[in-house]
Structure formats: structure tokens, C-alpha cells
Symmetry: C2
Subunit: 204 residues, 2 copies
């Protein structure tokens, strides 16, 4: 079997995660999203709850990190003992993503995976986005977010993702040229998008 490594960047509410999950199922390959946190926790001995708070968030300034208790002194992962938890998580996920891509076909959501695997020729890098009407509907339906607050939460989450991406990759989040394929998921049914990407991946 051919090897498929597919990374997915996504605006909040674009349905990128769900498409990635269906795609992994269709291609019969592994799927990684929050699973990357458990792996990082296991590898470092740091509790998953600590990582969940900083997942896909850029490191804050030193003083802010200290005041918020985002430093984890004397952790089990001693070589990185002095780094903010955000940076620790990034470094761990960086290593885990490289390892996974080396050993198996998979779909990886977020976490700068496109940037981390940019020199991997097997890697298909995808970005999903959608108009605000679509994303608000998804936020309410799939994430149980209150309609009145949906736009605010979408913008806040995307700002955080954009900061994280730009902080660790030095690239601008959402610029087409960082990806192989960018798709407005509000313009086509989810299943048709899955088929389109499966076809694209196979003909490359």
C-alpha cells in the first residue's frame, strides 16, 4: 500500500476535524487530533490536563507564564524543565508527529503539522475554512456553543490558532501557499470533500 500522510489545518467551525476523521476511515489509516496530547503526556510524564490547557496556544511571555503558573518546574521531562508548558508540548508534539509520519500512514489535525512535515514529500497538506454563517451553525450544532456567543468564540479560537501557527512556524496561518490544497468546506458536502481529497491523494 502507498503511504499517505495528510495534515489538516482548519478554521474553527469549518468541519476540518470531522472531514479528517472520515478521510482517515475511508483510507483505512490512523487519525490524530487530541490523541497527540495523550501521547505527549505519556512521553513526558506530565498530566494530560496540564497540556490540554495550552494545546495549540503559543507560549506567553516569561512574566505572564510565571504569574499564570504555566511553568512546570521539576517536571519528569527534565531536559526541558525550564520551558513554559506550551513550548514543552510543542517540542513533544513535534517529535511525536515526526515519529508517526515516519512509521505509518495517518491524518494529523492542527499543531503546525504541515510546517513540521514540510520537507516530507509524502505529505499532503490541507487547509479548511468556511464562511461565518456556516461556521456559526457548526459551532452551535457540533460544539454546543450558544448562538449569541458563537462568532466571538470562533474569532477568539482562530486568533489563538493563528498566533500558535505563526509563533512556531514563522508563517502566516491561512495563506494558501503553506498548503497543497485549501478548500472552502461551506461550498461542498462533507462526503464529497472526503472523496475529492481521497482522489487527490491517490493521483499524486
Amino acid at each position: 500500500m502507498e503511504k499517505y500522510i495528510i495534515t489538516i489545518g482548519r478554521q474553527f467551525g469549518s468541519g476540518g476535524r470531522a472531514i479528517g476523521e472520515k478521510l482517515a476511515k475511508k483510507l483505512g489509516i490512523s487519525f490524530y487530533d487530541k490523541e497527540l496530547i495523550s501521547l505527549a503526556a505519556k512521553e513526558s510524564g506530565i498530566s494530560p490536563e496540564v497540556f490540554e490547557n495550552v494545546d495549540e496556544k503559543a507560549a506567553n511571555s516569561l512574566l505572564y507564564s510565571l504569574s499564570m503558573g504555566l511553568y512546570s518546574f521539576g517536571s519528569g521531562f527534565s531536559a526541558m524543565g525550564d520551558l513554559p508548558v506550551n513550548d514543552k508540548l510543542y517540542i513533544l508534539q513535534h517529535k511525536i508527529i515526526k515519529d508517526i509520519a515516519e512509521k505509518e500512514s495517518c491524518v494529523i489535525v492542527g499543531r503546525c503539522a504541515d510546517y513540521i512535515l514540510k520537507d516530507n514529500e509524502n505529505c499532503v497538506k490541507i487547509f479548511f475554512y468556511a464562511d461565518m454563517v456556516f461556521r456559526k451553525r457548526e459551532a452551535v450544532k457540533k460544539h454546543g456553543i450558544d448562538e449569541a456567543r458563537a462568532e466571538h468564540i470562533i474569532n477568539k479560537t482562530d486568533k489563538s490558532r493563528a498566533n500558535y501557527y505563526s509563533f512556531y512556524s514563522g508563517q502566516k496561518w491561512g495563506m494558501a501557499e503553506n498548503y497543497d490544497l485549501c478548500i472552502d468546506s461551506s461550498k461542498l458536502d462533507e462526503d464529497k470533500i472526503v472523496d475529492l481529497i481521497a482522489d487527490y491523494t491517490k493521483i499524486r
Copy 2:
């Protein structure tokens, strides 16, 4: 027959124009690129040569426009007599693009057509880009540009296109969210890209 309106934004050397031409042929629909200049010239009575110099270039400042002779006083298109030629061309092309999209299926290259037709639900908006190695090779092969100067010309042309796009649309050129589909044309054969877009256009 279904109606297809396809707009193409493209980095210089990405092959976007050639893909657009093949796509139009495959779908049996009209193709507009430089043709938009002839139409604007015909409509305004201004010579095509005057328009060619400012095509897809944002208007300069008033003093610069005057010093470069970019003003065309007393033109046949009297209602716009006092505008820089760049702005006249944009306004004419804006009208022509709207008219064409109203009356026929077509592929339109550049000239902010995605922005001009953003409220047209039939419109499929595509952006092409590619890595610099690919674009340099295309610039030499298809545009006869000297290899030593290729990267400079690519960057200069794209800067001009980005300025033009941002000046008239208020949006950032190359941001995925301005388009329905963005494709790195260095990752897939030209003919496969044509097939992919033809399929995408038909299943929407």
C-alpha cells in the same frame, strides 16, 4: 447545460493561465485573460496599448500618475475623464466581468474577478501557486525570461498583482479564504489539475 463561472487568481509562473485555458476547452466554455483589455478598449475608445501598460497594476498617486502621463484627459469615455488610466481600466473590466458572468459560462483570469463576482453563487473561485523552483522553470520555459533574472521578475510581478488585488478588493492576495479552492500546481500534473477542477465544478 449548467452554467460555470470560474475565476482564476495565480502567482506568476504557477501555470494558472494555462490550466485555465485547458479547463475552458475541456468544459467547452469561453476564456478571458488579455481579452478583457481588448473589450475595455473597445468599450471606452481608449487604445489597447494604453491599457496594457497598466493592466493589473494599482493606480499610482496623483502626482506620479501625472508625471508618468498615466492620466488620459478628454478620453472618449468622458464620465471617467479625470481618473487615472488604471482606475478607468479597473472600472471597465469590473463592468465587463459582471456582464460576461451574467450572459455565459466562462473562465476569467486575474483582475480581481473573484472579488467582483463574490456574490455570484455560480462562481467557482480558484487560486494557483507553486514553489519557487517550479515557477522559475515555468518563467524560463513559457515566458522566455532569462534564468538569472527569473526570481526577481516573479517577485516583482507578484508584488504588483498583490497590490492591485489589495487596492481594489481590500483583501489580502493569496489568503485561502478569498477562494473556494487553492491548489499548489507544482504538486500535480497540469492535466490532472484540470480534471480535478472540472470534477469539482460539476459536483458542486
